[in-house]
């Protein structure tokens, strides 16, 4: 019996087109992914590496919720739908046979459909190397196990689990809606949970409870190096194994429950809750005969039509808002919105204050996706409403013009959109109120929601109306609209087409800033919106023409109908729409492509490749170096342009004569550049050879500059923005918050910065693979140039800057004079002593906070904080960090070279802080609005400020040479310095949280490396090495050899290398030399491991027990495992040395909480020489212990830092 039903199910499903459609979709998806090479991560990882396959299969199986619900929901429901239940169950079949047969049959179909993806992959990855979208070397050869293993572990087991759920839901409740809506809702709930749990500490538990094993998979492979990703499959053990056993088991239980619970009798019973049909009917009534139907007046005027339009629109609106699906999705969407807002935008895990711009920005995270789906579905519902209850014929024959019916439906959706944008307002304000933030910027809300977001939603509605009206089949309409959406997304994000005018409803990205409001973005936004509304209007009217009113769905008939409907009014609206579209389109195009030069991503790469081919011959040529710089800057913020002129005294410090100046303007895509003057010793220079594509020009000097010669160059440049671009922030000069630097001027000679870095693309353009950007440590050119700028060594500097009268303009140096002239404000700055050639120009409407720092030797430093008047919250935190930093650094490294330290806020178009001599521009979003109320959270404002102040020593006193590894002197040292300042203020326990973040960042960085991981000594480009690894290694080093002792070494380095007047400038070897010198012989192994090699520990507490002894003391036995491995740059494991390493062994009491901060209380914390392998230690202590383990503060680099401590067990 079972077998019959099973076979019937199988045969039936195999004939259904839906089965093959699902199969085909997965197959195509697999092919596209594999041939197109759409995989993130490192370039070194094969596209079909086992981990990539596992991740993709896992993610698809999560989306497969929908598939499982579609396939597993119907087999039982089918008998209800087709009414076969009434006789089918009268046949002699058993309930279990029936349920099990349908279940296994459908499950078999689900697995069959799922094979589509795998087959697509297999074929795609075989074709891929020849298709040319990705280089052939990114494809590994076929390995069946790499498909089979993740399919078994994740893909099929997830389908099994979700399949069981949906089968049970429908079999037990008879409601197919539960399968359809349930699929969508389960999916959304899952995504919400993922978002909500991402910051939870207990990752193990979260990933165990994740029904799809997504967390378990990611936790396992997140730190795998490219080499490991290419060779290993995800091991079926630990969390992965338990997770799978748990969820497949639950699936199985659900399935069994259904089989035993299912009962024909109950299944056949109609819903008891449904109202009984009212059959009471008064048989005849005299009233009926006697009643005369009164004659009424009917009005069919234009105003009647308008009235009906509004009435129907309102009714439709009410209908939509009553829809359960609508409510469910809307609640989910608003929940997303609310929680995205609630959890803020943590920086280093620390939340941000609920700023209005953030409440607005989060709408683009998850909300907009759900809203789009909602709009599509509701449009389908609305356009098919009459048809779905078969009321369409009566309704269609009512005396309502088409535009009233269609228009009312459209208006209803527009109302819905209005509600949807206001949800953002509501959620935002609610969030702000709950967090005690009452500075409601309704102007900002309204501008964004009503002028930008609302028209965007309307253009979604227009597209949805067009598709649904033309397609006239609800489900197909949904599919096609969403497919159009997905295609737009795929084209723009995966393909290289980012021209917004080609992508329906797209517009340039924009950033709202408290400092600059909507700034220069608003006009572009408005024009793009107008452009799409015009186009959308045409679409919507075409929809009206084809919209099916009546009964004939033949193409010919509807075409004919459409022609008939195309009256003068319709033509007029189309013409208006088209005119708006074309005019706005012309204006947008004029701005995007004529005023600004649009370039595809590919063209950008080509340009970079050509630049290198054409110009790299000038690399390392001798050019003069500035010794004195005087600049005059005139900023015109409201027109977004500036002129900058400079008088440069420059010397030929090289050994060869210089006959030409090589001006490299770099890539100024958005800034329009004009050279106003270029003269040397007052003689105007003439253009010589010009490489116009590369913006590289040669100017012949009037006289050759012989080595040692000095000349004065005057250079004046005007740069500014015009109109609005296709994309890009154009944030150098803005209405309020200008921030630009010396790159406003052209640089001399070839600049490596503009080269193509990705080896993948370099090969495409026949450029050699680039292993290093900087020359080796002993390279003569490298040693005689400074890292940040090779146009000058240290210089003397002064400048005047003018700006709007209500703004303050700042440059490095001390303010000499400020005055007003011609309605403009002027500031004159002059630096004392020398600085590296690196200056910024900032201008905005600022409030200034001032305080003084006094050093031990009586020196005074003026601390000035220039901040947006609306951001006073953390100003003193910045000031405190500056004070503490100056304390620590001046004591340990030597005196601060200036008498002032300024921190300057700039708009959040970028998010970084950058240290210029005595000046630190600091992004608006980076600490100014951080919420540091929880003492457990990392005070990153303090830490980053300290880091930037440290650059005054590490970067500005010692400016590293332009060689490999030299940037460690700047960044690793600044990182180390800030760690030390922070440790002093916040204690060792706060450090561990941060170090774990550093560790996580480092391990992720190397897992995604596109070339090969470099060591601390030769790293020239890898930020995760110089910040993360550098910080970790130096922190552990000071722990090993004592902070003060290490600082003595660093001080010696400063003394030797600060403001070094001539080459050779500082290298990583020089730095390393001081470190080696300070480190005892016993720990030299650590230096070698850390600076010269890539070394990872695997430390783990294995067992820990204690026994209470008679004298009230405790004997604690700790067994730990330790291993140390070397890796090559690709992440391939090399040898594992077996010499002992010095590591912490510790026993802890309960944590205590002091001032809201958790503190560990060590009973034992000793450094022990531990040989790789298992070691056991016994301690006698006098307090009851709780936890014990190895390297408890995570000072070593260890891929599983959480297993270093375990709870102690008491032995009897």
């Amino acid at each position: 019996m079972f077998f019959e039903i099973f076979l019937f199910e199988l045969k039936y499903r195999l004939k259904r087109p839906a089965t093959w459609a699902y199969f085909g979709i997965l197959f195509l998806y697999g092919m596209i992914i594999s041939i197109g090479g759409f995989e993130g991560g490192s370039e070194k990882v094969f596209l079909n590496a086992p981990t990539n396959l596992a991740s993709t299969l896992n993610v698809v199986s999560i989306f497969g919720i929908m598939l499982a619900s579609a396939i597993m929901g119907v087999p039982i429901y089918r008998d209800i739908e087709h009414g076969t239940q009434n006789y089918l169950f009268s046949y002699p079949i058993s309930e279990k046979g029936y349920v099990l047969g349908r279940f296994t049959g459908s499950m078999a179909i689900l697995f069959l459909v799922s094979l589509g993806l795998i087959l697509g992959f297999m074929i795609g990855y075989a074709i891929g190397p020849f298709a040319g979208f990705e280089p052939a070397e990114r494809y590994a050869s076929f390995n069946l196990w790499h498909y089979l293993q993740p399919s078994l572990v994740f893909y099929w087991s997830n389908f099994f689990f979700t399949g069981c759920i949906f089968f049970a839901l429908v079999a037990l409740t008879k409601r197919i809606m539960l399968a359809y809506a349930g699929g969508a809702i389960l999916f959304i709930i899952y995504l919400v949970t993922l978002t909500l749990t991402q910051d939870i500490e207990n990752k193990e538990l979260v990933s165990l409870l994740d029904p799809f094993g997504f967390g378990a998979l990611n936790n396992t492979i997140q730190y795998w190096t490219p080499e490991e990703q290419n060779t290993l499959t995800v091991p079926f053990k630990d969390t992965v194994m338990w997770n799978r056993i748990l969820w497949v088991g639950i699936g199985l239980l659900i399935c069994l429950f259904t089989v035993f619970k299912f009962d024909f009798q109950r299944f056949l019973n109609k819903k008891l809750s449904a109202k009984k049909k009212d059959t009471t009917d008064s048989n005849s009534s005299s009233a009926a005969v006697l009643t005369k139907i009164p004659v009424v007046s009917q009005v069919f005027s234009g105003s009647h039509n308008i009235k009906m339009l509004l009435k129907l629109a309102w009714m439709e609106f009410r209908n939509i808002t009553k829809d359960l699906f609508f409510k469910a999705i809307l609640i989910a969407a608003v929940a997303f919105l609310f929680f995205d807002g609630w959890f803020g935008n943590p920086t280093y895990g620390t939340p941000m204050m609920p700023m209005t711009y953030y409440m607005l920005e989060i709408k683009d995270y998850n909300y907009v996706v759900l809203i789009f789906i909602l709009i599509v579905f509701m449009t389908g519902e609305v356009l098919h409403r009459e048809r779905s209850v078969k009321y369409d014929q009566i309704y269609g024959a009512l005396p309502l013009p088409n535009w009233v019916v269609y228009g009312s439906k459209f208006m209803a959706l527009v109302f819905i959109c209005f509600v949807l944008v206001n949800m953002i307002l509501l959620s935002g304000v609610l969030n702000q109120v709950l967090k005690g933030y009452f500075n409601f910027e309704f102007g900002m809300y309204f501008t964004d929601l009503y002028l930008i977001e609302f028209p965007k939603y309307i253009s979604y509605v227009m597209l949805a109306f067009f598709v649904h009206a033309v397609i006239a089949k609800k489900f197909l309409g949904h599919v096609i609209t969403i497919a159009i959406w997905a295609a737009l997304f795929a084209i723009s994000s995966l393909g290289d087409i980012d021209y917004n005018m080609y992508l329906y409803s797209y517009a340039p990205g924009y950033t709202i800033s408290d400092m600059n409001g909507f700034g220069h973005f608003l006009s572009g936004q408005n024009w793009f919106r107008l452009y799409w509304l015009g186009f959308g209007l045409v679409l919507a009217v075409i929809g009206l023409l084809f919209w099916k009113r009546g009964t004939d769905s033949g193409i010919k008939a509807r075409w004919k109908e459409a022609k008939q409907r195309l009256g003068i009014k319709e033509k007029l609206v189309i013409v208006v729409g088209a005119l708006v579209w074309i005019c706005a389109g012309w204006y947008v195009h004029y701005n995007v492509s004529e005023l600004n030069s649009y370039r595809t991503v590919k063209q950008g790469r080509e340009l970079a490749a050509n630049y290198e081919k054409e110009i790299s011959k000038y690399n390392f040529i001798n050019q003069p170096k500035f010794t004195d710089v005087k600049v005059d800057v005139d900023l015109v913020p409201e027109e977004r342009y500036a002129t900058m002129s400079g008088t440069f005294t420059m010397v030929n410090k090289g050994e060869t004569p210089i006959d030409s100046l090589h001006l490299n303007w770099g890539d100024s895509q958005l800034l329009h550049t004009e050279l106003l003057k270029l003269a040397v010793n007052n003689v105007d220079l003439k253009e010589g050879k010009v490489y116009s594509e590369s913006n590289y020009k040669l100017y012949k000097l009037p006289n050759e500059m012989m080595p040692g010669d000095t000349v004065v160059m005057t250079l004046a440049v005007k740069k500014g923005y015009k109109g609005f671009p296709n994309e890009g922030s154009g944030s150098d000069i803005v209405y309020n918050g200008t921030f630009l630097n010396n790159d406003f001027f052209p640089t001399f000679g070839y600049n490596l910065q503009y080269e193509l870095t990705s080896d993948k693309y370099r090969k495409e353009y026949d450029l050699p693979v680039k292993e290093y950007t900087a020359p080796p440590q002993n390279d003569k050119w490298g040693l005689s140039n400074l890292l940040f700028n090779d146009d000058a060594d240290y210089v003397t500097f002064e400048g005047t800057v003018s700006t709007d009268p209500d703004q303050i303009a700042i440059m490095p140096g001390y303010l000499q004079k400020e005055w007003e002239e011609n309605g403009r404000k002027y500031y004159h700055y002059k630096m004392e002593g020398e600085m590296d050639y690196f200056f910024n120009v900032s201008s905005a409407r600022y409030d200034v906070y001032k305080e003084d720092w006094k050093g031990k030797n009586g020196e005074k430093v003026a601390i000035e904080i220039f901040h947006h008047p609306g951001h006073p919250y953390n100003v003193e935190r910045f000031a405190k960090a500056v004070r503490h930093s100056l304390d620590y650094f001046s004591e340990n490294y030597g005196p601060y070279q200036y008498r002032q330290m300024r921190i300057i806020e700039f708009p959040r178009y970028q998010s970084f802080a950058q240290s210029f001599p005595n000046t630190v521009p600091y992004a608006e979003s980076f600490g100014w609005t951080g919420d540091f109320s929880d003492p457990e959270d990392l005070d990153y404002a303090y830490m980053v400020t300290s880091h930037e102040v440290a650059h005054q020593w590490w970067g500005h006193q010692i400016t590293p040479s332009a060689t490999r590894g030299a940037n460690q002197i700047s960044e690793s040292m600044a990182e180390y310095s800030s760690l030390m300042v922070m440790k002093k203020e916040y204690g060792v326990d706060a450090m561990q949280d941060f170090l774990k973040r550093e560790l996580d960042n480092y391990l992720r960085g190397r897992a995604g490396e596109n070339k090969f991981e470099k060591t601390l000594l030769d790293n020239d480009t890898q930020a995760y090495v110089w910040y993360r690894k550098g910080g970790l290694i130096l922190y552990a080093l000071q722990d090993y050899i004592d902070e003060d002792r290490l600082n003595v070494g660093f001080k010696k380095f400063i003394d030797s290398a600060a403001f070094r007047p001539h080459a050779p400038f500082a290298t990583s070897n020089e730095w390393y030399g001081y470190i080696k010198e300070t480190t005892p012989d016993s720990l030299q192994y650590y230096l070698k491991d850390s600076f010269e090699k890539i070394t990872l520990y695997t430390n783990k507490a294995k067992e820990a027990t204690y026994k209470k002894l008679d004298d009230n003391t405790y004997e604690v036995k700790v067994t730990v495992e330790s291993a140390k491995n070397y890796y090559d740059g690709n992440g391939k494991e090399l040898e594992a040395p077996d010499q002992p390493n010095l590591l912490d062994i510790a026993i802890f009491q309960n944590d205590t909480i002091i001032n809201g901060k958790t503190k560990k209380v060590p009973l034992v914390l000793e450094k022990k020489w531990i040989k790789p392998g298992t070691s056991t230690f016994i301690f006698i202590i006098d307090k009851k212990p709780l936890k014990a383990g190895i390297d408890p503060y995570n000072k070593m680099i260890d891929r599983i830092p959480d297993d270093n401590l375990i709870s102690l067990e008491e032995l009897e």
């Binding site: 109202k275 009984k276 049909k277 009212d278 059959t279 009471t280 009917d281 008064s282 048989n283 005849s284 009534s285 009233a287 009926a288 005969v289 009643t291 005369k292 139907i293 009164p294 004659v295 009424v296 007046s297 009917q298 009005v299 069919f300 009647h304 009235k307 009906m308 009435k311 129907l312 009714m315 209850v389 078969k390 009321y391 014929q393 009566i394 269609g396 024959a397 009512l398 005396p399 309502l400 013009p401 009113r549 009546g550 009964t551 004939d552 769905s553 033949g554 193409i555 010919k556 008939a557 004919k560 109908e561 008939q564």
Partner: protein, 295 residues
């Protein structure tokens, strides 16, 4: 006012030739449209009700071109489709009120009187506040006619309105229709001959998309008077008779088969003359045609 249909043709995109050059004149009063399932009745009715367009031909009513001037037709149209649904959660009162306002009855007081009268008229008064989803088939059908009667329509099209109704409901329904004013064109389609015989002054029979007969039921009946013959036969002989005679219909009576045969003269002595009725007209017209298609 007359409704004139001229040379109306329609082929659906699936190839079905639903209407073939139909020409009909429909005077005011009740007009019956008779035909077997799939004859094209509903296609014709939907075309008249502005719900679809023919490939060619024209329909006019007075000075209204029904095919072009759809808005004007709808203003005077009452339409009850063969199958229709309702919003299950709305009451009949609210729904009628809503439709009345859509039909241009904008005066609130008038609308209230109208809706109440219609509810009384269609015997739905006692369930006016019950939601339509709870209605029985007959009640739903009466609701259907009530909505079609809103706004004194000049053209009422009811498509197989009595299908699925019990006999009492059918009678009630006929009464309702017959009470509608004389100045209205009422087009009733059905495949039940009796309905037409009882109700209609004029009628047409359509079969396979063509008008095969039209006129007054009595005249049409008299046209075959004297040409209908019946005989009681064994079931097994039916095919033989069909081959030899123009058998227009068969009935069962007490387990035996009675055939009606159309013939100008008495086929043979075993046949008896049968008084002609509209049913014989109907079967005379359609049987041969359907046989020709099926053969």
């Amino acid at each position: 006012m007359e409704l004139k249909i001229e040379n109306l043709s329609k082929t659906y995109s699936n190839g079905v030739h639903a209407l073939k050059n139909i020409t009909l004149t429909i005077p005011h009063g009740m007009f019956g449209l008779l035909g077997p399932n799939g004859a094209g009745k509903s296609s014709l009715m939907r075309t008249m009700a502005t719900l679809q367009q023919p490939d060619s031909g024209s329909i006019t009513m007075g000075d209204i071109d029904i095919l072009k001037d759809t808005d004007r037709v709808r203003e005077v149209l009452g339409y009850l489709p063969q199958e229709f649904g309702v919003y299950p959660k709305v009451t009949s009162y609210k729904m009628l009120d809503h439709i009345a306002s859509l039909k241009g009855v904008s005066n609130k007081g008038e609308r209230k009187d109208l809706v109440e009268a219609l509810l009384n008229k269609t015997n739905l008064w006692h369930v006016r506040n019950k939601s339509l989803g709870t209605y029985s088939g007959g009640m739903k059908q009466r609701f259907g006619i009530a909505q079609a009667l809103i706004g004194s329509p000049k053209l009422i099209i009811v498509d197989e309105p009595t299908a699925g109704l019990d006999p009492a409901e059918r009678v009630r329904f006929h009464n309702l229709l017959s009470e509608i004013g004389e100045n209205t064109i009422i087009i009733l389609s059905t495949h039940i001959v009796e309905d037409v015989a009882n109700l209609c002054k004029n009628m047409a029979i359509i079969c396979l998309g063509e008008v095969v007969a039209q006129g007054n039921p009595t005249e049409l009946t008299s046209g075959v008077q004297g040409k209908i013959w019946k005989k009681m036969i064994d079931k097994k002989d039916l095919d033989a008779y069909k081959a030899e005679h123009q058998v227009i219909s068969t009935h069962l009576k007490a387990g035996r088969t009675i055939i009606h045969v159309y013939s100008e003269i008495k086929p043979d002595e075993t046949f008896q003359a049968s008084p002609a009725n509209l049913e014989d007209v109907y079967f005379t017209e359609i049987t041969a045609r359907l046989n020709a298609v099926n053969a």
